[in-house]
């Protein structure tokens, strides 16, 4: 197993390098001179030369790439055009907010998803199964940005129960775990939870149905194990896969939160990306995407390793 783990980590390295290369190319596939897109419009000739040197646009592509990776490894992702602040600083401030939102959404989605999945898998082809399957189809088909808008319409504009946008009263940016702040988290988290809910429900339903049809379940029942006892075995058998799916979903949500964060003006990475797109702030776009994608690769790796460690049935030579 140790050799598998080592190879799995080694395998992730070229992927990470590839991800970095793609992020590097983002500035170069952008139309126009890459320097123009990085420079503020009123840049002096001096600054232009300075940045030219700094980014090394006069050097060859491989040279540029490796010096960019080198600087990124040292925590330097360049400076935002719009604010002039270091991109790394902006991204790490925002990543915490996105992580909080995505983690809560994943937990909510996992809870309801497994609930629907279990019920559907246990009572297959009953009306409960059909209802649960329908709910999970809705979960994967609903445009979540629209769902967010509908929730805002219902709970903010009509009922006035919850605040529509932001992450704290009076636009405060420091997070505190009190109701005044938590109420800002409810709607974005619930909206976001629909995506993992649908996928986890589908996965768990298939898993439960598969496990229940296996011979060991019949054996357990024949030996007189109670319904609850059998249920425990089913849970134990599908937990590793379900947890793995949950981990991957967290990664998808981290990367896919931009639309929901836009709807709720949530101050996370999605909001940064939105800002970067509107102001054509390519260093900010590049830096944010790099951090999120590397996070996703790392999470994939972690899920894979944990699965191998915790699920002895998976034998990976």
């Amino acid at each position: 197993m140790i050799s598998y783990l080592i190879r799995r980590v080694l395998y992730a390295l070229p992927i990470m390098l590839g991800v970095a290369f793609l992020c590097f190319m983002l500035v170069h596939i952008a139309p126009g001179d890459p320097l123009v897109s990085i420079l503020p419009p009123d840049a002096s000739a001096d600054l232009q030369k300075q940045l030219m040197e700094l980014y090394g646009f006069n050097r060859s592509y491989p040279e540029q790439f490796f010096s960019w990776v080198w600087r990124a490894l040292h925590g330097d992702l360049g400076s935002s055009i719009a604010t002039g602040r270091p991109v790394a600083q902006e991204v790490f401030k925002a990543v915490g907010n996105t992580l909080m939102l995505a983690a809560l959404a994943t937990l909510i989605g996992f809870f309801f998803g497994s609930l629907f999945g279990f019920v559907a898998g246990y009572f297959r082809n009953s009306w409960i199964d059909k209802l649960a399957s329908f709910i999970s189809v809705i979960g994967v088909s609903v445009p979540h940005y629209w769902l967010g808008m509908v929730l805002v319409i219902i709970f903010s504009s009509q009922l006035m129960w919850l605040p529509a946008t932001g992450a704290g009263p009076d636009g405060s940016s420091d997070w505190v775990w009190d109701y005044a702040h938590i109420q800002y988290l409810i709607m974005p988290a619930v909206t976001m939870s629909f995506i993992p809910m649908g996928i986890i429900a589908r996965t768990v339903r298939a898993l439960v149905a598969d496990i229940l049809s296996q011979e060991f379940v019949v054996g357990l029942k024949a030996r007189g194990l109670s319904e609850f006892g059998v249920f425990r075995h089913v849970v134990k058998n599908c937990a590793p896969t379900a947890m793995a799916v949950m981990g991957l979903q967290l990664g998808y949500l981290l990367g896919g939160s931009i639309l929901i964060e836009t709807v709720f003006s949530w101050p996370g990475t999605g909001f940064l990306l939105n800002q970067a797109i509107f102001q054509r702030d390519l260093p900010l776009l590049q830096g944010t995407i790099l951090v999120l994608a590397l996070f996703f690769v790392g999470l994939n790796l972690l899920v894979d390793i944990l699965q191998t460690v915790f699920d002895p049935r998976i034998e990976r030579a």
Partner: protein
């Protein structure tokens, strides 16, 4: 397999001249018996029809603005579904919007189906070194969450229909190529391909006669399941201001511009999203029906 053989021999003993129904006839028969899939198919056909005859369906000029009829509620005389923030008739815009919205949602999957299957079949059939190179490259694209990749590419390329289509196609190519590669590898290792090769068939003949027929079905089913995702992503890009540019009607873009009206005319503002939702769920259920009818496991 064994049941197919035994039923075939049974059929040949009973009625020698009666040919059994073909594979596709079976698939069609199973789909027709699935009520959910049929409802979804009707909805999809309805939407496509709406897009086709949009200019004759819309009751008003979808581009005519009017300062006096801004943000009218649903049910206003002359504006059945109300008006948008510039006083344009929403029903007409929703109808004409189906053209761009469906086009933006379906085209990337279609392009990715052609390119992705090509890459996947090539890699799967070639095997060895070529396979490793191609699939590791695909893995890099696969290492991005699809929403993030779509936004990264179109964010760098800038707004516009062609840029959004390009980004989405690139997002779906690795997903389709992976399926195509794994199915092709399975087929390549099968006995009948070995037999064909032993009897002197060239690579092109084997791919045409044995690989394509067995591989395109599963890839096609998988690709149809991507249309729903593509619809949501394509409209999402326009929602962020990255896809279709105003004043063209597109559901995601309409949803974005109407966002300012969620306090004054909430239900009018939510309408374009409802159309995205209905389209996406119809394609999803149709794809589910198709998968179970073709007995393709994912």
């Amino acid at each position: 397999m064994s049941t197919a053989v035994s039923s075939a021999t049974a059929a040949s003993t009973v009625a020698v001249f009666k040919r059994s129904r073909g594979h596709w006839a079976n698939v069609a028969a199973r789909i027709l018996r699935n009520p959910t899939a049929m409802v979804a198919a009707l909805l999809v056909l309805g939407l496509l029809f709406m897009a086709l005859v949009a200019p004759w369906l819309m009751p008003q000029d979808p581009f005519a603005t009017s300062m006096f009829t801004r943000l009218k509620p649903i049910g206003t005389v002359g504006h059945l579904l109300g008006t948008d923030e510039l006083g344009r008739d929403l029903l007409s815009r929703l109808i004409l919007g189906s053209r761009l919205s469906l086009f933006m949602g379906i085209t990337p999957v279609l392009l990715a189906f052609v390119i992705g299957s090509g890459i996947g079949i090539l890699a799967g059939y070639a095997g060895g070194f070529i396979n490793t190179i191609v699939m590791r490259t695909i893995d890099v694209l696969y290492a991005f969450p699809s929403v993030l990749l779509a936004i990264a590419l179109s964010g760098a390329l800038g707004a516009g229909i062609v840029n959004a289509l390009t980004s989405l196609t690139i997002v779906f190519i690795p997903q389709i190529a992976r399926i195509a590669e794994s199915v092709t590898t399975q087929v390549r290792r099968s006995d009948y391909v070995d037999a064909a090769r032993a009897s002197g068939a060239g690579a092109f003949t084997i791919v045409r006669a044995h690989v394509l027929g067995n591989v395109l079905g599963p890839i096609f089913v998988y690709s149809t399941s991507l249309i729903s995702v593509s619809m949501i992503l394509a409209s999402g890009l326009s929602f962020l201001g990255l896809g279709v540019k105003p004043p063209e009607p597109e559901w995601g873009l309409m949803l974005n511009t109407l966002r300012t009206a969620i306090y004054s005319q909430p239900w009018v503002a939510a309408l374009p999203g409802l159309f995205i939702f209905v389209t996406s769920i119809s394609f999803n259920m149709l794809s589910d029906g198709l998968r179970s009818a073709m007995e393709v496991k994912q």
